[in-house]
C-alpha cells in the first residue's frame, strides 16, 4: 500500500472533516488530491500534529477531526499518545502512516523498522481503539469503522517508503492557517 493510494481511498470522507497533517510527504500528497479550507498542514513542529488535533477536538467536540500522522512524528511525541488517551476525544481519528523511515530527510530507518509497534504503544497509552493495517481494503474498512465507532481510534497504516517528487507546494503556510481558522469559525 502506498500512502498516496491510502489517502485517495479516504479522500471523499475527508471533504467534510477537519484534517490536520504532518509535514512532508503527507501534506504534499493530500494537497495533490485537492486542497480544501478544512485541511491544515503543520509543516514543521514534528510531533505536534496530534497535539493540535487534540486542541481542536477538545475545543470543538461537535466537529469530526482526522489527524494524519507519521511514524517519525509519533516517535517524537510518544508522551502525546498518553495525553490523547487521557482526554479521549471521541471526535478524533488518528491515522499514522508508518513507512518505517524518515522519508523526507533521506529515508533513514526509524525504530518501527526494528520492531517498535506504534499501535501497541497507543493501546498501552490507553487509546481505546487501535489497529495496524497493511492493505488498502483494510485501511478503508478500519477508517469507516473508526468513524462509525465515534471513539478515539489510532490506525497505523503500514505504507511503502515512497513519496512525492516535491514537498513544497504553492500554498503559503499562513494562507493555509488563516483559511483554516476562518473555516472553523464558519462551522459554528
Amino acid at each position: 500500500m502506498t500512502r498516496a493510494d491510502a489517502l485517495r481511498s479516504i479522500y471523499p470522507a475527508l471533504v467534510d472533516r477537519v484534517v490536520i497533517t504532518i509535514m512532508g510527504a503527507v501534506a504534499a500528497e493530500l494537497q495533490s488530491l485537492g486542497h480544501r479550507p478544512n485541511f491544515f498542514y503543520l509543516q514543521h513542529a514534528m510531533g505536534l500534529a496530534s497535539s493540535m488535533g487534540l486542541g481542536v477536538a477538545l475545543a470543538r467536540p461537535e466537529l469530526p477531526v482526522v489527524v494524519l500522522d507519521g511514524d517519525g512524528s509519533v516517535l517524537m511525541n510518544l508522551g502525546g499518545l498518553t495525553t490523547l488517551a487521557r482526554y479521549r476525544p471521541r471526535n478524533l481519528v488518528h491515522i499514522v502512516f508508518d513507512n518505517e523511515s524518515l522519508l523526507s530527510v533521506g529515508g533513514f530507518p526509524t525504530a518501527t523498522s526494528t520492531g517498535s509497534d506504534l499501535a501497541a504503544l497507543a493501546a498501552a497509552a490507553g487509546v481505546p481503539r487501535t489497529v495496524t493495517v497493511r492493505s488498502l481494503d483494510a485501511f478503508a474498512r478500519e477508517f469507516d469503522a473508526a468513524v462509525a465507532a465515534r471513539d478515539l481510534t489510532t490506525i497505523v497504516a503500514k505504507v511503502e517508503a515512497v513519496g512525492p517528487s516535491a514537498y513544497v507546494t504553492d500554498l503559503a503556510l499562513l494562507e493555509n492557517r488563516f483559511q483554516f481558522q476562518r473555516y472553523l469559525a464558519g462551522r459554528r
Binding site: L48, L54, L58, Q181
Partner: protein, 181 residues
C-alpha cells in the same frame, strides 16, 4: 515555604477574565493551586500534559478552533517547548499566552532549579517573545489582560513570568521543601 493561594486565585481570575477557557499544564510546586482551580472550574478545560511542548500544539489547535487558551509551566517546561514555540506558534502566528514560573531566581533553595533561572529571560529575548514579570498581585489583572491583548493583536506568543515574590509566602525557614521537577 507555602505557595500563595490568594495570589494564585488572583492570577486564575485574571485568566478567566481575559477569556481563557482552556489551560494546558504540567504541574510544579508553584502551580499546584492554579491547576487545582482549573480542575474545579466547570467552565475551564484543563489538559494535563506529559511534556510541555504538547501544550503549544494544543493551544494552536484551540486557537484556530476559536477557544482562548494559555499554558501553565515551569521555566524548564518553557525550555522543553522551544522548538514547538518557534516552529508552530511563531511560524504559524499563534497568539500563545504562556505563564511561566520563574524558578531558579533570587531566593531559590533547590540547587537543581538554578541553571534554568539564569537563562529564561535571555531566551525569551532571543526568541523576541514579549514578557513581563508578575510580582505584585495588585497589577496581575491588568498585566494578564494586557498580555492577552498583545498576543491577540500580534498573533504571537507572549509570556508572563510568575515570580517568587508573587507565588511564595516565605516561611520561617523551618526547612526548605523540595520543589517539583
Amino acid at each position: 515555604m507555602a505557595v500563595s493561594v490568594a495570589n494564585s486565585r488572583v492570577i486564575y481570575d485574571a485568566l478567566k477574565a481575559s477569556g481563557v477557557r482552556m489551560l494546558s499544564a504540567l504541574p510544579e510546586t508553584w502551580l499546584v493551586h492554579l491547576i487545582r482551580m482549573a480542575e474545579d472550574d466547570a467552565e475551564m478545560t484543563l489538559v494535563r500534559l506529559a511534556k510541555e511542548e504538547e501544550g503549544v500544539g494544543i493551544s494552536a489547535g484551540a486557537h484556530l478552533a476559536g477557544v482562548k487558551s494559555a499554558m501553565l509551566m515551569q521555566n524548564h517546561g518553557f525550555l522543553a517547548s522551544i522548538n514547538g514555540i518557534v516552529s508552530c506558534a511563531q511560524l504559524y502566528r499563534i497568539p500563545l499566552l504562556m505563564l511561566i514560573s520563574h524558578r531558579g531566581s533570587f531566593g531559590e533553595r533547590d540547587p537543581w532549579q538554578t541553571e534554568g533561572g539564569a537563562v529564561t529571560a535571555a531566551l525569551l529575548d532571543t526568541l523576541r517573545i514579549p514578557y513581563e514579570s508578575l510580582d505584585d498581585p495588585g497589577v496581575v489583572a491588568r498585566r494578564v489582560a494586557q498580555a492577552q491583548t498583545l498576543a491577540t493583536a500580534s498573533n504571537k506568543p507572549v509570556a508572563l513570568l510568575l515570580t517568587r515574590d508573587l507565588m511564595v509566602e516565605e516561611d520561617s525557614g523551618a526547612g526548605a521543601k523540595a520543589g517539583g521537577r
